[in-house]
Amino acid sequence: MKMEMKLNKPLANTYGWLHVNGTLVEAVVENTAALREELPAGVGVETKNESPCPALKTGAGTETAALLAGVEKHVYTVAAGQKIADPLRLTLDFSAPNTGAEFCFSLADDSELTVILDYTGGVDTAAVRTTAVLGKNARLRLAQVQRLNDGVTFISDLGGSVDDGGTLSLSRLVLGGEATYDGCSIALEGTGSACAIDAGYRLGGTQKLDMNYEAVHTGKKTNCEMRVAGVLADKSFKLLRGTIDLRRGCAGAVGNEVEDVLLMDETVRNQTIPVILCAEEDVVGNHGATIGRLDEQLIYYLESRGMERDAIYEMMARARVDAVTRRIPDPQMVQELLGEEGE
């Protein structure tokens, strides 16, 4: 039985006729996805049947917890002061139909970890729910690469909380699948805590990407950088809700959000809802978006060096996604994704 959910509900609604106040999704998850784990020394792991941090707000919404109720939950812990140099690589193979996974990363004070989540395969639905709890001055770099099969509906949900001085950095690449619903909600609770969301996508055909990214600033001097860049071709569709929520008491907080969308065909559709909510005086919030084709003077400049217009578009499209790829904190993954370019 498929479950009907309203995912990616933003913190603030807007006009109903835009149909962006959440997205109805029907899906079912029946099995736990096959997991290959490269576990560096110093990282503890435990498997549970209950969600390890059910109270944490996630970007896609509480319904994903119900969707994934039946799958195994992997809890990874790093003890206080432990700085793990090698990345924890988690490769999920979704080749069985309707599979999912749930992860929790718990970093104690002053610890550090890099996690590479790599998703392949997929039949019908694939779903992953991730929670991250960072202690004081903890640092978690979490990169997620989605290269699922054509036709797959992918639901990806994340919730995180960051204590004093901690930093949660997310990299997200959407390269495959048919429809991707990606939610991230990060609670910047500690003084001086920070988060970064660095997302890239390249969509074609009838691919669909529906995102809800939130940074909720409650701690003083908190910082958020949201950067989303992508390319839409053919009949692809993308919706980004990006919300910086500067709550009362977050004095000294800074939130920045930048989006860059390159549109390659006249049949694409792009929706962007960049929201700044602010209930504190001593803050800075910025948002900038550039959507559309390449700048004429840029094309002229590149043409004047002998490049064809199509080649320029292809080069610039690639550059956008490659730039996000290069920032993935794992040379091995970067090399794999950039392929011959890294020769």
Partner: protein, 469 residues
């Protein structure tokens, strides 16, 4: 000059807060039934089609849900709102014929001075009826029609009105558009013939007086090909404890290569629910320029919309919103690009103070036919203290690759350095902050005629009083 000075500088809060005894004005029963709507229609001497239109709108109103995305309007109880109030007077052609009590109201608001000073025509609406109307002779001689909508329904442009009335904002648009369709009353009709450029602005002034009254005026402006008009709308209402509702409707039709500038300084009293709908349709090569200052109301939902229907049509929106104590002002704009080579520019500022909530909300839709369109949205918000709130909720929906869409938003506070700098030149902190906020709102004030710009700056100064502490 002395008169202009009076008009400009005597604006203070108390000026808007007097009211008249509404004891013997005629009122319909509270609540809204088909019988009431028919009664309104009879009183208005509506043509048959308009009566049917009202009843159909009432039906839509009853079937439509309240909006579920904006500020709370729970304080509004439709059952208790007297929808129609009519002062006992007929239209007057000269100022002298306006009854003394109403005249006194407008004298205090400075309307006749404004007219004498600089305006081509003034239409003032007192509660629901247009009580005073005048267009300077030379404007009328150009063939410009400026009249109240009721009489225009029986005048030479009756067919034109029927073709345009609530075509741009249909009653199905939202619940309060339906309400407006059912009970609309008063308002202005302006027609500018092809090629005519109205050099001085036309002005209308709305005012609500009765407690618990709704105001549902309808403004219909048609600017024909190659014509130009600047229309100024001012609004105010005295304070009452009962919630007041304003659900007006403005429909602007901008013809080929025509330009219409529509300026509003809204200063409704702070118990007003301002659920106004404004929309412009712009044909090939035409341009609509919205200049909008929102200072009053308890709750506002206000998003003037531009539908760019012809090749090369343009829209510019310049707005400022100041939300003080007890105010929740949700303002912004909507633009729909429906044709090639269309452009839209949006430039807004919002200020939140003393617990006020201001929200900038927008939608830019670029349709598949709108090749080579450009849109640039820039919104800035200023937080004056840490008990207020300022939200920015823009949306972009782009359905063509051949477009250039830019958006930027910024939120911040008054810089301590700037205050320090001004204080070091001998200006008090309060004055320094007021100056900085006025400067922040300059995008709008520089677009307004001088006397309005000064009035707006006075409003800001008034709002900024006691901003420290």
């Amino acid at each position: 000059m002395a008169e202009e000075k009076t008009f400009v500088e005597d604006v203070d809060r108390s000026r808007y807060d007097f009211r008249n005894d509404d004891g013997d004005s005629y009122k319909v029963d509270e609540g809204l039934t088909p019988a009431i709507v028919e009664q309104i229609s009879r009183e208005k001497n509506d043509p048959d089609w308009m009566r049917d239109f009202r009843l159909k709108s009432l039906d839509i109103f009853n079937r439509t849900d309240m909006p579920d995305w904006g500020p709370s309007i729970e304080g509004l109880n439709m059952e208790n709102i007297v929808t129609y109030v009519r002062p006992h007077t007929k239209m007057s052609a000269t100022w002298d014929e306006v009854p003394a009590e109403i005249k006194d109201t407008f004298e205090r608001l400075g309307i006749p001075q404004a007219e004498r000073e600089s305006l081509a025509g003034v239409g003032a609406q007192y509660d629901s009826e247009l009580v005073y109307h005048n267009v300077k002779a030379e404007v009328a001689a150009q063939g410009v029609i400026y009249t109240d909508l009721e009489s225009a329904l029986h005048g030479p442009k009756a067919d034109m009105i029927r073709e345009h009335f609530m075509h741009l904002v249909p009653p199905t648009d939202h619940k309060f558009a339906a309400l407006h369709g059912a009970v609309w009353s008063g308002g202005s009709f302006v027609y500018v013939p092809p090629g005519v450029s109205v050099e001085i602005p036309l002005q209308s002034y709305f005012r609500l007086n009765s407690p618990g009254a709704g105001q549902f005026e309808h403004t219909l402006i048609i600017v024909d090909e190659n014509a130009y008009l600047h229309f100024i709308e001012g609004c105010s209402a005295p304070k009452y404890n009962v919630a007041n509702l304003h659900a007006g409707c403005v429909e602007l039709y901008v013809g080929k290569n025509a330009t219409l500038r529509y300026s509003t300084i809204e200063n409704w009293s702070k118990n007003m629910y301002n659920l106004n709908t404004k929309r412009a349709r712009v044909e090939e090569g035409g341009k609509v320029e919205w200049v909008s200052g929102s200072f009053g109301s308890h709750v506002s939902y206000l998003y003037p919309m531009s539908v760019l229907n012809g090749r090369g049509a343009k829209s510019e929106f310049t707005g400022v919103t100041f939300a003080g104590a007890g105010q929740n002002l949700d303002t912004g704009c909507k633009v729909v690009h429906n044709a090639p080579d269309t452009t839209s520019y949006v430039n807004t500022r919002s200020i939140s103070k003393s617990g006020g909530i201001s929200t900038f909300r927008s939608a830019v839709v670029v349709g598949p036919k709108a090749e080579n369109s450009k849109s640039a949205v820039s919104c800035q918000s200023l937080m004056i203290d840490d008990i207020s709130r300022s939200d920015t909720i823009p949306a972009m929906d782009i359905r063509t690759d051949k477009a250039d869409i830019g958006h930027e938003a910024r939120i911040g506070r008054i810089s301590d350095d700037a205050v320090f700098y001004l204080m070091s030149r001998g200006i008090s902190e309060e004055e320094a902050r007021a100056l900085i906020v006025s400067g922040f709102a300059e995008n709008v004030s520089k677009e307004l005629p001088l006397e309005y710009a000064l009035e707006m700056n006075n409003l800001i100064r008034m709002e900024m009083k006691g901003a420290i502490g």
